[in-house]
Symmetry: none
Subunit: 239 residues, 2 copies
């Protein structure tokens, strides 16, 4: 019956441990703590937050696993380097799916997508594809190129094709795949000359789709994905 609204909804709910984790993140933000800075001792923190030490330790473990904290026996708990955060997240998030597996799946999903999109001839959806293509071209011709934005537009172009294929399961699957890809290739970087080549390949795909030529669309899509795969690999090796 005391379903009354608790006055402090922002953190008032959920398991104690999770609340502690949020509190610690808040603490770091509020105190402007930088990577390498030390947090209060476990016992002290537990006292301040009015929780037991085991609960606090679970929260710390959780944040450590997420890469936010670093624990040194005998010394204390420290704010971790954000650099480590990203590596950890990338490795964990995609559970080590290799680029080869991901690009193989691009072929599996996007070649049928191109074929279906060409066959269906859905005017509205194909217009959307054309719009995505034009946005991508426009962004690539600007003076100072925003690689981050370019990647997003590239993804949008390919997903617009998948959308035009008219299969919602395919659409969702391709969306997740591109998320993985984006996470795996976080450091946006293009092999020299890749940008122009890529645009030509995109154009070929678009033309084939608008012409309703399924076979040509399939070929163009395959050519593009394989080139992108190779470019992705060379980027890795260059690291």
């Amino acid at each position: 019956m005391d379903t009354k609204d608790t006055p402090w909804e922002p953190l008032g709910q959920g398991k104690v441990t999770d609340r502690i984790a949020q509190q610690i993140l808040l603490l770091i933000a509020r105190e402007q703590l930088r990577p390498g800075d030390r947090l209060p001792a476990e016992r002290e923190l537990a006292t301040v937050l009015e929780v037991s030490r085991p609960s606090l330790r679970e929260a710390v473990r959780s944040l450590q696993a997420q890469g936010h904290l670093e624990v040194r026996h005998g010394s204390g708990v420290f704010v971790a380097e954000p650099h480590t955060v990203r590596e950890l997240r990338a490795a964990v998030l995609q559970q080590q799916l290799s680029l080869d597996e991901l690009f193989a799946m691009r072929e599996v999903l996007e070649l049928p997508a191109a074929v279906w999109a060409a066959e269906r001839r859905d005017a509205d959806k194909l217009d959307a594809v054309r719009g995505a293509y034009e946005a991508l071209v426009a962004a690539a011709e600007e003076p100072d190129i925003d690689l981050q934005r370019l990647r997003a537009l590239d993804t949008a172009f390919h997903l617009s094709i998948v959308d035009a294929a008219g299969n919602r399961f395919l659409e969702q699957t391709a969306g997740v795949l591109h998320d993985m890809l984006a996470a795996g290739m976080r450091t946006t970087m293009w092999v020299p000359g890749r940008l122009e080549t890529s645009q030509r390949e995109h154009e070929r795909i678009l033309v084939a789709l608008l012409a309703g030529d399924a076979a040509a669309a399939r070929r163009a899509a395959r050519r593009h994905i394989r080139a992108a795969h190779i470019a992705g690999l060379s980027r890795i090796e260059a690291t």
Copy 2:
């Protein structure tokens, strides 16, 4: 004083909590636990591993933060689904997908799977496929046929092929697809004569895989999926 060689050096060092985390991952691998399966209770696990419950819980927290485990209050600790699967399922669950879309995706996913499985020639995985086939045949020959069980074995057969293809993204995606399919065709029912036909088609796929004939495997898989599609449709219309 027991600095002596512990029988399991690979994990003998480092903090207890971290060792526990590794042990749990090993346990999942060794016991072939799949997403959704339950782990032993915390108290039991702590006893077996000869550690205290707080330490065990810290390890679980850590694995939970990394997405390997899912903890449900009052129910137990479970192996979590990979992020890809979780996202896809959440996205797909919302929409009412048609049988046509689902079966179209079966072709998209399972034809490449058959090709790859035939090309890789992974003896262990192909043995698993053979095992799944034999289990399916055995179940179909029993006097009183359990349609529910038959469907599960049929799914297991097809997923074993996908597994033999060696692409984890494909594996996870196909898993979700078959779940959707099972949900969409809840009332298990077979068109008269479909059972025997289906078994023949399965056999063809299996033979092609064992022979390493990728083209034949692809043809056999396509034939089977299309036949299953038609059977599924006729069932709907008969309603």
